[in-house]
């Protein structure tokens, strides 16, 4: 194998790296083989295959890629939580009011579903036919709305909870886990 072939193969093996790292490594090894001169064949033999040389370069680059991340102390978390108080209290109350509103709507429809027909039957037995039928009708309407709404409400509750806490964690510096929806 010529030195040019060797370098080309090495370049191929380093394809995944960023341009700067890759060209730095190639400059080094091109020079290295040039220095070896007449002994280039022996030098390539000693270096091993371009693949194995590339593996060593990539292994080191892999280690270096992991950026140094200082661990956040509890105190920093507490301080951030206090400093971000206006933000997270707003978020939290928004989230809570959303949940309460949805729960209230569902509860109202559920109550109407049960109470309105009873009222209607009572009315019918006391010969108030118009009012009785109207009550039974609104009871059925409520049941329909409750059935229609409970699933989207549940979904909204779950999603809003998930995102609220994700944003909350971000605010106080706790790394958020990947969100899967």
């Amino acid at each position: 194998m010529s030195t040019e072939e060797y370098i080309n193969q090495l370049a191929g093996c380093l394809h995944g790296m960023n341009d700067e790292e890759r060209s730095s490594a190639l400059v080094y090894y091109r020079e290295y083989l040039a220095e070896a001169g007449d002994n280039a064949a022996a030098a390539m033999e000693a270096l091993g295959s371009p693949q194995s040389v590339a593996e060593r370069i990539l292994a080191e680059a892999e280690d270096a890629k992991e950026p140094y991340k200082p661990k956040q102390s509890v105190w920093v978390t507490v301080l951030l939580a206090i400093a971000n108080f206006p933000l997270w209290i707003t978020l939290l109350s928004l989230w809570l009011s959303l949940l309460i509103t949805m729960a209230a709507i569902l509860l109202a429809f559920a109550a109407a579903t049960i109470i309105a027909p009873i009222q209607g039957i009572v009315d019918l037995t006391s010969s108030m036919y118009g009012h009785g039928l109207w009550s039974i009708g609104s009871g059925i309407l409520s049941a329909g709305l409750a059935l229609l709404l409970w699933k989207p409400f549940l979904k909204a509750a779950v999603v809003s909870t998930k995102y609220s806490f994700m944003i909350l964690k971000k605010m106080i510096g706790i790394p958020a886990k990947e969100v899967r929806t």
Binding site: Y28, E31, A43, A46, L47, G48, R56, A59, A64
Partner: protein, 103 residues
Amino acid sequence: MFPIGSALLDAMVLSITSKEETYGYKLTQEMQSAANVSESTLYPVLRRLQKNGALETFDRPYMGRNRRYYRITALGTAMLRQYRIDWEQHKAQVDAILKEDTT
């Protein structure tokens, strides 16, 4: 015979470059004469030290091409000083167990 870990490699490379500016091929030859270090070990070490700011590089023309020289920085010198202290300590600890009793 005894494997050389990355800390020791760093220390040795820093020590050689502290004596004179050198280039990859020459450095590899020097390291090989002293220790059983494979030829492809040194580039990642040099690159790491360069990125850490312990070494800096510069190109010098030689026979119609460039040689990339490595030069130790102030940070590298400080690291080397610490490595030498640590090494002495390590040596003493090993010796305490390994050395033949001469008394």
